[in-house]
């Protein structure tokens, strides 16, 4: 299996500027490998280091030690991001633009020729079901519609790898289902999807493999069925792995 995304002994430390504050270690020697065509769930409680890992992969944060690669290119080189799509958590896109203009802007940054962009933009708007609102300013969109615009911008360059940071966060059940369907469709098209989520049921239903991190350390990595093991579901396994104490019901 070809590794599309790889981290080697990845360590990230944040030095505090405040006097008396110690250095915070966000990641402690993280080793990950995601193969082509996989849907990979990246799980962990808040503050576990999921977003930091994504920030390193996207070149926003330099690793303190270790390395990260996308398509075998060091993530510190901008060219590593040519074949990826990224959806951040809760983003408010330029509200004075329409969805069509926003997608055209991102297409220009990827250097897509105009005829390709002309074909790709309506396709994406149809995929995320935003065709009727394509020429309306984004400021008139609901939260769910904004999230779908985000998904469309992440797909503008027809990426081989999609990095999604809590793609269903803040969405209603219908919105979640739509995003899940899109991820499923991308999987069927052979795309690699790397996403973080707190919705464990959703992870269980769409992911091939998952990794669970806690306090910056990798706690579990494997197929969903293997990690669930003897537990009733992924949520129970997750709580057990991160060491959540069972509370007796009084």
């Amino acid at each position: 299996m070809t590794a599309i995304l790889r981290t080697e002994k990845l360590r990230v430390e944040f030095r505090s500027r405040d006097v008396g504050q110690t250095t915070k270690v966000a990641l402690r020697g993280l080793d990950l490998e995601v193969g082509a065509g996989e849907v990979f769930g990246f799980l962990g409680p808040n503050g576990a280091g999921k977003t930091t890992t994504m920030n390193v992969l996207l070149g926003f944060v330099p690793p303190t030690r270790g390395a990260a690669y996308l398509f075998d290119i060091d993530v510190r080189q901008p060219i590593a991001r040519q074949r990826i799509g990224y959806l951040p958590e809760l983003t408010y896109y330029y509200k004075f633009l329409t969805a069509e203009e926003l997608l055209r802007f991102y297409a220009k940054i990827f250097g897509l020729p105009r005829p390709v962009a002309d074909r790709r933009i309506p396709e994406l708007l149809k995929l995320v079901e935003l065709e009727p609102a394509a020429r309306r300013p984004i400021k008139t969109y609901s939260k769910g519609m904004q999230q779908r615009v985000g998904l469309a911008q992440a797909l503008i360059n027809n990426p081989d790898l999609l990095i999604l940071d809590e793609p269903t966060s803040g969405l209603d059940p219908l919105g979640r289902m739509r995003v899940r369907e899109i991820i499923q469709r991308l999987k069927n098209e052979g795309k690699t999807v790397f996403f973080s989520s707190h919705e464990l049921g959703e992870v269980e239903s769409v992911c091939d493999r998952v990794a669970i991190i806690h306090h910056g350390e990798l706690k579990a990595l494997g197929r969903v069925a293997d990690i669930t093991g003897s537990h009733a579901n992924l949520e129970k396994a997750f709580l057990d792995i991160i060491g959540y104490p069972a509370q007796p019901v009084s």
């Binding site: 070149g59 991001r81 990826i84 990224y86 983003t91 220009k108 940054i109 250097g111 985000g150 992440a154």
Partner: protein
């Protein structure tokens, strides 16, 4: 270059879709239009006062547009988190800064063009002649002055946390340089060392924005400034733009994105 022009295009779209420019333009048009209708003391030279007031309003409006538009660019990208998907694309931080600068500067240029067209029409309606080259020199120098201010505000937006504090500092500094900058060397002569050396150093280090104020040229229909001096002034402004932009790129390279 395509990345820089894409970012610049978004900034220009933002300017013409927001109300700031229209509000300032309408205020200028209304004030000057009303004044143009008045005939005070049957004074034929009243047109000079009218031109002066109109140019003052244009200067104030252009400074407001340049500083407020630039000061909010990077902070708004961070606050709305649009910086994340943007930098996750093959776009470098230097390209983003240059795109923002170019967009703000071009947007200011477009706004200036509208203002000067109105000014020209107003002046021509009273004077019945149009000194095109005078307007061109005054407008060009004004635009380059805004270039220096835009580059400075962009650097400030990476240093100061809030756009409002950056805008205030820019207004105070620009106002200070325009009003007292030219006299700093004379002020230095009245001081003792080491203050004298500091004020003298400031006199030479700060950009002399007053060089770009050619309002009298169009108000009094003076002869054109020699083009070699205009070219030198444009090079001087370009130098300061480059210095502030290099500073902004260096600061932004070390800045956390989120």
């Amino acid at each position: 270059m395509k990345n820089i022009s894409a970012v610049a295009g978004i900034v220009i779209k933002e300017l013409y879709r927001r109300k700031d420019f229209y509000a300032l333009f309408i205020v200028t048009v209304v004030i000057c239009g009303l004044m143009a209708m008045l005939n005070i003391y049957n004074d034929t030279n009243i047109v000079r006062y009218l031109k002066e007031i109109c140019l003052d309003l244009i200067w104030i409006s252009s400074l407001v547009i340049a500083i407020t538009t630039t000061a909010r660019q990077i902070p708004a990208e961070r606050e709305n988190r649009t910086l994340l998907p943007l930098l996750a694309k093959p776009l470098t931080r230097t390209q983003l800064i240059l795109g923002k600068f170019l967009g703000c500067w071009l947007a200011c240029g477009l706004a200036l063009l509208c203002f000067y067209l109105f000014f020209g029409a107003l002046a021509a309606s009273r004077e019945h002649h149009w000194l095109l080259l005078n307007y061109f020199q005054a407008g060009l120098m004004h635009w380059f002055l805004l270039g220096v201010i835009v580059a400075f505000a962009l650097l400030g937006s990476l240093i100061f946390a809030a756009p409002s504090s950056n805008a205030t500092i820019c207004f105070v500094l620009v106002g200070g340089i325009l009003f007292v900058g030219r006299n700093l060397d004379r002020v230095a002569l009245t001081l003792r060392e080491p203050t004298r050396a500091i004020v003298n150093a400031l006199y030479y280090a700060l950009p002399h924005l007053e060089f770009y104020d050619l309002r009298d040229l169009v108000v009094h229909n003076w002869p054109l400034v020699a083009w070699k001096y205009i070219v030198l002034a444009l090079l001087y402004a370009s130098f300061y733009m480059a210095v502030f932009l290099i500073g902004a790129c260096l600061v932004f390279r070390r800045k956390a994105v989120n």
